[in-house]
């Protein structure tokens, strides 16, 4: 005889059957039947957050670090709406999370009941899909479909809104968790079209000035290995988007660094002068292309993406390939080997060598440390802090970031050799993401080194989670690049608004972060000079603090800008390299 369970028990049981480890959540009236069901079991561990937005970011951080969906449980009304920023963040960066929200009982729907919000409606523009459960019997299939949709194809957030009466502990139903799910309206493409792959390989082999431009799709699609194999086999240069860092080893000499608005000189120039650009799992975001009309004037584009709507959306593709990155790239690698076996001289080595000489020339003259060198004996610079953290963690940490200058410095100066180590809000640009995302990664990998690089502005948007870190003893290392201002806003005001710092500073109103950390039982340090930096960073990452959260308040030069910076409305070869240097000579 089938097992009889209440809706609340079915929901929790379905999460168990889905293999969920953690639920990041916050209880409230409409979710209380579910919370009671959680209380009666041990398999799924519930993490009590301090704010629902942070729960969504934790689930997101967990998903990005592991590749498995992160799960959120909140109550109706404000509990649900507080997750929206987190859902939108996951949506923009295509990460799989499942958000379960309590809802008022079905007979009160639409009556403006206490803590009622149309969660399916409010979340609609920022989810991949959503379900409103109409009765308890629908719960197992809704959960099954939610996880399937969240994690397959181009991943994304899925909401399950559960009215309280559907979780009534006294109404019991037969429970069976569906083994498979088939949906006639949803069949994500896996392998790329073989004819397109053949054409792409042919174009790649004929290239004289190629660049591989890879994005978050390579990281999320577990395709870093295949991409790396292709790039190394061809000996072609690779650049990564902000979302794609770690998709190709950051310490490989073929890596040009990040491209785009704050991309490296060599990456942006290589793109601009390329004759063939192979875009993989990247979506030609405006922070990459700058002015699409001036974008890479001599390039032909191969565009591989799991989402057909991303292809030719901004830049028309010469060879579009719809497919998941890993199987499509593996198919390409096979095709490449066949071609090279047939014709070992298929690649024009002289042209590629000449291309590398040009790129290395750009790298040598205006590489990333150009601005630092230009600054001379400045006060403590944010780049130096990131570099010290990189050395102390041997480049192996999971690094999360918030949004702003510190995010760019971390992306530029921490070299990621592995995918899923760099976790940041690229698309939505959500301040307050860093700490909860780090918590999600730390829950996923309790023994790993997890670092949150943040700024005091972003950190203060979700600093209540220091309490959650205390409750669950999370040994995260928070590196606060403190410039006593909203640095990126201030930089734009310096560069485009005549230095009028409209509402971007608060320097007499900052807390004592060391004392703040201590009040939550954490360790705090402060550093403001370069000579002290190395020793403090070494101590933080020593065994002494292995099991503790440490907050490093690094007081950096408040006037530092992020460079290079693309010139607004320009082509990719138009950028500013130093504060006083003006635009770089476009070679």
């Amino acid at each position: 005889m089938a097992e009889m369970l209440s809706g609340a028990d079915m929901l929790v049981r379905a999460l168990q059957d889905e293999g969920v480890e953690y639920l990041f959540g916050y209880p409230g009236g409409a979710a209380l039947h579910i919370y009671d069901a959680i209380f009666k079991q041990q398999k799924v561990e519930h993490i009590l957050v301090r704010h629902e937005q942070a729960a969504a970011h934790m689930a997101d951080g967990y998903a990005r670090a592991t590749g498995r969906p992160g799960v959120v449980l909140v109550t109706s009304g404000p509990g649900a709406t507080n997750t929206i920023t987190g859902i939108a963040t996951a949506h923009m960066d295509s990460t799989p999370i499942v958000v379960i929200s309590g809802q008022v009982p079905t007979d009160q729907l639409g009556t403006d009941a206490f803590q009622e919000t149309d969660m399916v409606g409010v979340s609609r523009p920022v989810v991949k899909h959503s379900f409103l459960v109409r009765n308890a019997a629908e719960i197992p299939m809704a959960v099954k479909k939610a996880f399937y949709i969240a994690a397959s194809g181009r991943p994304g957030p899925v909401v399950i809104d559960v009215p309280k009466d559907a979780t009534d502990p006294n109404a019991k139903f037969e429970y069976a968790y569906p083994k498979d799910v088939a949906m006639r309206s949803y069949n994500p493409v896996a392998h790329g079209h073989s004819g397109q792959i053949r054409a792409a390989v042919k174009l790649l082999l004929a290239a004289k000035r190629p660049v591989i431009y890879s994005g978050g799709g390579v990281v999320q699609g577990d395709a870093a290995e295949a991409l790396t194999a292709i790039a190394r086999r061809l000996d072609y240069p690779v650049t990564n988007t902000l979302m794609g860092l770690g998709g190709f080893p950051g310490t490989d000499r073929r890596f040009l660094g990040m491209l785009g608005l704050h991309g490296t000189f060599e990456a942006n120039l290589a793109m601009h002068h390329a004759d063939v650009i192979f875009a993989v799992g990247a979506r030609f975001d405006d922070r990459v292309t700058n002015n699409p009309a001036k974008f890479c004037p001599s390039a032909k584009f191969i565009h591989l993406d799991v989402d057909p709507a991303s292809i030719s959306k901004i830049i028309p593709a010469d060879i579009p390939i719809v497919g998941a990155a890993a199987p499509a790239l593996t198919g390409m690698l096979g095709r490449l080997e066949t071609e090279l076996e047939r014709n070992p001289d298929a690649i024009d080595r002289d042209a590629i060598d000449a291309w590398w000489r040009r790129i290395d020339g750009w790298r040598g003259r205006f590489g990333l440390d150009h601005d630092q060198r230009a600054r001379g004996d400045a006060p403590l610079l944010p780049q130096q802090v990131v570099q010290a953290v990189y050395r102390a963690t041997r480049g192996e940490a999971y690094v999360t970031a918030d949004v702003g200058q510190h995010q760019m410095f971390a992306a530029q100066y921490y070299l990621f050799d592995e995918p899923r180590r760099w976790i940041n809000s690229g698309g939505l640009g959500t301040m307050g993401f860093g700490l909860p995302a780090a918590m999600g990664a730390q829950f996923a990998f309790p023994d790993a080194q997890v670092v949150c690089v943040t700024g005091e502005g972003s950190f203060m948007m979700n600093m209540q989670e220091l309490s959650t870190c205390m409750q669950y003893a999370l040994p995260i290392k928070i590196i606060n690049l403190n410039n006593q201002a909203l640095g990126m806003v201030k930089q734009w005001q310096d560069m485009q608004y005549g230095g009028r710092h409209s509402h971007s500073t608060y320097k007499d109103a900052l807390p004592d972060f060391v004392a703040l950390a201590a009040s939550f039982g954490h360790a705090g340090f402060r550093v403001d000079t370069l000579p002290e930096l190395e020793a403090v960073v070494a101590e933080i990452f020593s065994d002494k603090y292995k099991d503790r959260l440490v907050f490093l308040d690094a007081w950096i030069d408040p006037d530092e800008h992020v460079y290079p910076m693309a010139i607004k409305g320009g082509a990719m070869n138009e950028m500013v390299l130093t504060r006083n240097g003006g635009p770089a000579p476009p070679p």
């Binding site: 399916v120 523009p125 409103l132 949906m183 006639r184 309206s185 949803y186 709507a309 030719s312």
Partner: protein, 165 residues
């Protein structure tokens, strides 16, 4: 080149599916000129016809984004091939004294039917492509038109072309 397009969509006949389509158009700044929707002979499916306009790349994005919606089963741009489009209009027209036979004549010319009347007005029912309905209103004269209810465009491919699963 911005052109008018008629797009037919088969979608799961589920609560909330329609709101996702309308939301998509609002969210992505696509324009909807008209939209009709009703269940099909297969009660699990609804068929929706919408008219929109945009250049080729916009329309390509519209169809791709529609296809991405989980509840959308099939999308066809009917304007890609030969097709039939029809719209239904119910229009209340001022018709007094000497105007009455004139209105009747114009309705006949447009193959309209008078489906209701009062001493002062006729209600005319018309079907056809949207331009024909526009032309009727111009012929009657805007001043005589008291109220208009239009269904929006419905469309289907000509010949053997069939939109099914």
């Amino acid at each position: 080149m911005s052109a008018r397009r008629i797009i037919a969509v088969l979608l799961e006949n589920e609560a909330g599916a329609l709101s996702r389509i309308i939301g998509l158009f609002a969210q992505r700044n696509y324009n909807i000129e008209s939209l009709t929707v009703a269940p099909t002979e297969d009660e699990t499916l609804s068929r929706l016809t919408l008219t929109t306009c945009g250049d080729e790349s916009t329309i390509e994005q519209v169809t791709k984004q529609l296809n991405k919606l989980i509840e959308v089963v099939k999308v066809v741009d009917l304007t890609d091939g030969d097709h039939i489009e029809r719209e239904l209009m119910l229009v209340k027209v001022r018709a007094e004294g000497a105007q009455r036979p004139e209105i009747k004549r114009v309705a006949d010319i447009f193959r309209g039917q008078i489906v209701d009347l009062t001493p002062d007005a006729y209600t005319v029912q018309l079907t056809g492509p949207s331009e024909k309905l526009d032309a009727f209103i111009r012929a009657i004269g805007r001043a005589a038109v008291l109220e208009v209810a239009r269904s929006g465009v419905s469309g289907i491919g000509r010949g053997d072309a069939m939109m099914r699963l």
